[in-house]
């Protein structure tokens, strides 16, 4: 029996339920000092130097305070590598480099003290004054005013721009068109405007760093999901060789796209440790997490579909306006899915990014897909309503057999099965077409659905195998256990590839001394690191077979290791690398279908999601227990986005003036999660595509469509709150 495919418990499960699992903030060291950040309270302006000097003097005199580091005394940090800042969201400007303020929450000082209480109190004494400047807080502000010139050697940029492609992915075009120039004048047209707010990743683990110097060598324990990128960024900031930096990421308490790129506070913690000549711990506060670890930026999307009476789409346009900071580059790529998801002879997609005086955004679970499929999949529902065609039938009618962008086939696409199985499991056949048809007691009932899609991605990675005389074979890679179960599923892959029992393999992650792995993001880790582990395991089996031909059976193999010579163990200790995805002639993409039921109590504006069916086509499922958990988590992430999540910035002061609501136990529907479970060997030799994000994609649309079915209200602005449901509904107002 293979290890892959079994519903195994997580390898670190016991540590997690007994409190023995170690996360960054749990790391203790002798003489550990504590740091607290001081951050700007205005969105644009200049710190008054005299006030900073005075505040520094007062805070420095407080009990236990060891050092106050500000732009006036911070050893200058070098700019970060351009390859991380030009098309990735690493800020171009090093932290504490000058007295200009570009957004609320910009780091202005670090207070280091003997205890956390002393550091926190010291930071509270930092009364800083500003010469304020007018701030541009929204895309509208930026687009309606002439752009200021770049500043600080291009570190500060203003105005708006239209990026060609998403991050470093040349073929994921953010400005794209195909087919005739003009929109067809005949047919049924749906034209709508959608908006999505600022969302926060909100991992329950706060970002934490423990930095310690040993001579010229820096060891950083950090809550990061990109060890090798962080090492590269720190080496640049601190102007030191990468090999003198070791990054350790113990278990990471959730990331969802954060805990990467925004490493300014990590660099400051390292500086603080060097200045006070002691190890320093810095843990961001929950409020600092909103401004200092990234967020999903706002989008405004205009979407137009034109179709024939038979529902065949003739034209799709999706135009997105989104926001980044003045100090970093990021574009929420909302329009990417529209390029291929439904057959559409004519297509126009555009993205405009406005640089605002707000903190730097970054990737968040389903970057692009989460807000983009909200607009596209609601628009498809509007088209279904306009044509009188069932929403599932309309999607099947427009299903694309090949990737329209490249003309190439899919490496494995089973979307029709997702629709069919999902509809059957949900009981979609019984759905009355007209809105407001279903009622249960005092509440309206609505059924909605949406398509999910997310790319199958893979990058190069390496894996080290170490064989020891205790019969244990350890696989190690500089990847991260952020809660996805990578240690568990990699152990399963390693066991099958080597032929060893699960008890005799381990998978270790979270240390820059391990061979290279990319960031844990973009749903790529299982395909990426799994390919390296698989190759390493096969190599291990081959090497063992050459030394012990004919020795078969797990018990015999383990016995041979226990009695093996050092020479054998050496032979079975090595490192292998695997490539990124080659050009196989096919395109890898995951798909899925979401179906849900909502109850809407119109008297009090309350929406309850009661039932959820998701069927996902994500290649081979390595561990059904963990995969089901991941998809349920993805759905809840989308449920929060649909109904409650928005960072409550005050539009005038740019301050966060409320709390960020996320789903609780009381908001969870009954789940029925299914997988097509068809291996996709076009992407990698283990047949997987990632599942970290597909669960979220399409969820807000399925809920909004269900709310329409329940109430007849087409609500196109997220989140759909009580206020939105209680406001007298004017269908004209939300149309484009």
């Amino acid at each position: 029996m293979t290890a892959v495919g079994r519903a195994l418990d997580r390898v670190e499960a016991r540590a997690k339920v007994t409190g023995r699992a170690v996360y960054t903030a749990d790391v203790a060291m002798p003489r550990l000092a504590h740091a607290a950040l001081v951050q700007s309270e205005v969105p644009h302006g200049q710190v008054v130097a005299e006030s900073l000097l005075r505040a520094t003097e007062i805070a420095s005199a407080a009990a236990g305070v060891l050092r106050v580091i500000t732009p006036l005394n911070c050893p200058p940090l070098k700019p970060p590598p351009r390859e991380l800042s030009d098309d990735m969201p690493l800020e171009r400007r090093p932290p504490l480099s000058d007295l200009t303020v570009q957004h609320v929450g910009q780091h202005l000082a670090v207070v280091v003290a003997d205890t956390l209480e002393q550091a926190t109190y010291g930071a509270s004494l930092m009364a800083i004054e500003y010469e304020t400047l007018p701030a541009q807080l929204s895309a509208r502000d930026v687009l309606s005013a002439p752009a200021a010139a770049d500043d600080g050697d291009g570190q500060l940029r203003h105005g708006a721009y239209r990026p060609d492609h998403f991050v470093k992915l040349d073929d994921e075009k953010l400005q794209d068109r195909r087919g005739p120039n003009d929109e067809p004048t005949q047919g049924i047209k749906v034209e709508s405007r959608f908006s999505t707010p600022i969302n926060a990743h909100y991992p329950i683990e706060l970002a934490a760093t423990v930095a310690a110097w040993d001579g010229d060598v820096l060891v950083v324990h950090d809550t990061t999901r990109w060890i090798t990128g962080e090492r590269q960024a720190l080496a640049a900031y601190l102007d030191m060789p990468e090999q003198n930096i070791r990054i350790v990421a113990p278990l990471v308490g959730g990331a969802f796209g954060s805990k990467s790129f925004l490493w300014m506070h990590v660099a400051l913690c390292a500086v603080a440790a060097r200045e006070v000549e002691r190890p320093v711990k810095l843990v961001l506060t929950r409020n600092q997490m909103f401004s200092s670890t990234g967020h999903r930026p706002r989008t405004e999307q205009h979407l137009t579909l034109v179709a024939g009476a038979d529902g065949a789409i003739a034209s799709t346009e999706q135009h997105t306006v989104t926001e980044t900071s003045t100090v970093a580059h990021f574009c929420e790529p909302a329009g990417l899915s529209a390029r291929f998801l439904y057959q559409s002879p004519r297509l126009v997609v555009s993205h405009t990014v406005a640089r605002t005086n707000t903190p730097t955004p970054c990737f968040m679970r389903g970057p692009g897909e989460a807000p983009g499929l909200f607009a596209l999949e609601v628009a498809i529902d509007e088209l279904a309503h306009a044509t009188g065609i069932d929403p599932v039938a309309l999607r099947m009618r427009n299903d694309a057999d090949v990737d329209q962008v490249s003309g190439r086939p899919w490496s494995g696409k089973h979307l029709r099965q997702c629709y069919e199985q999902g509809a059957e499991r949900f009981g979609w056949d019984g759905r009355p077409t007209a809105p407001r048809s279903l009622r249960r007691g005092d509440v309206q009932i609505g059924w909605g659905m949406a398509t999910a899609t997310y790319p199958g991605r893979r990058m190069p990675a390496s894996c080290r195998v170490t064989t020891t005389a205790d019969g244990i074979v350890r696989f190690a890679s500089a990847t991260h256990e952020v809660g996805t179960g990578v240690r568990t599923v990699m152990s399963q892959v390693a066991a099958d590839a080597t032929g060893l029992p699960l008890a005799n393999v381990r998978f270790e992650s979270g240390d820059s001394s391990f061979p290279h792995a990319p960031y844990s993001g973009a749903s790529q880790t299982t395909a990426t690191v799994g390919s390296a582990v698989h190759a390493a395991g096969l190599q291990w089996r081959k090497r063992f077979g050459e030394r012990h031909p004919g020795r078969n059976g797990a018990a015999a193999v383990v016995a041979a290791l226990r009695t093996g010579s050092p020479d054998l163990l050496d032979e079975l200790t090595f490192t292998v690398s695997s490539d990124g995805r080659g050009e196989h002639g096919s395109v890898s993409q995951s798909f899925g279908a979401h179906f849900c039921e909502v109850e809407v109590d119109e008297a009090i504006g309350r929406v309850t999601v009661t039932r959820w069916v998701a069927v996902v086509d994500c290649g081979r499922v390595l561990n059904p227990k963990l995969a089901r958990n991941q998809v349920m988590g993805g759905v809840l992430f989308g449920l929060g986005m649909a109904l409650m999540e928005q960072v409550p910035y005050d539009p005038r002061t740019a301050q966060v003036i409320g709390e960020y609501y996320v789903p609780t136990h009381a908001d969870v529907p009954d789940f029925d999660i299914g997988f097509v479970d068809a291996p996709d060997f076009g992407l990698d030799p283990i047949g997987v595509r990632g599942i970290g994000e597909i669960g979220t994609c399409g969820v807000p649309a399925a809920i909004a469509n269900a709310i329409f079915h329940a109430t007849g209200k087409r609500l196109r602005d997220l989140p759909i709150t009580i206020e939105a449901l209680m406001t007298p509904f004017d269908p004209e107002q939300t149309d484009a």
Binding site: L116, L206, V252, R286, K625, N629, T664, H665, A666
Partner: protein
């Protein structure tokens, strides 16, 4: 506030059955005392202002938020943390059910979820009601004998946030243990 900077108290606690004595800054929370001074880092800081439930521990038999409890305010109390839930190597029934039903992903909220889950079972056994009790069967609620339905569990666990989204598995784990007791 110069006094505040230097003011300390001696606190004596029983933690997971063992006597502890510590000099604490009056500004220290129970959470920071447990983690930074006593070295019991199983209890987690997720927000430090009573929103997320990750720091839930038991003080004198009741669940409290460690981040909203000043250490100096509970002198003489009996504290149980996640490290005190197992009997040596033998996991509690709830810990075992969390493992089997995969009641977590990243694991950061898990200590708080488990502390709350243990408290939930004690509270239900002694007849405590929840908001959900009155939405279901008011008759049963009025005599204080409500069934531990999934809705009851969801309501009673609503103060413990899991951002990974393992809630459905957590509820399954608690329901299995809770119904086994009934």
């Amino acid at each position: 506030m110069p006094e505040a900077e230097t003011s300390c108290r001696i606190v004596e606690l029983t933690v997971n059955g063992g006597a502890r004595r510590a000099t604490v800054d009056v500004r220290s929370t129970l959470l920071d005392l447990l983690r930074d001074r006593i070295g019991l880092t199983g209890t987690k800081k997720g927000c430090d202002h009573g929103l997320c439930g990750a720091c839930t521990v038991t003080v004198d038999g009741e669940r409290v938020l460690g981040c909203l409890t000043l250490a100096a305010s509970i002198d003489g109390s009996d504290v149980v943390t996640v490290e005190g839930l197992a009997d040596g190597d033998e996991l509690s029934a709830l810990q075992q059910a969390f493992v089997e039903h995969d009641g977590f992903q990243c694991g950061f909220c898990t200590s708080g979820q488990l502390s709350s889950a243990h408290a939930l079972l004690r509270e239900h056994t002694r007849g405590d009601l929840s908001a959900a009790s009155f939405e279901a069967d008011r008759g049963a609620a009025s005599c204080g004998r409500v069934c531990l339905t999934n809705d009851e569990i969801r309501e009673r666990m609503a103060g413990n946030i899991c951002r990974c989204g393992a809630q459905a598995n957590i509820v399954t784990a608690i329901a299995e243990v809770g119904r086994g007791r009934a």
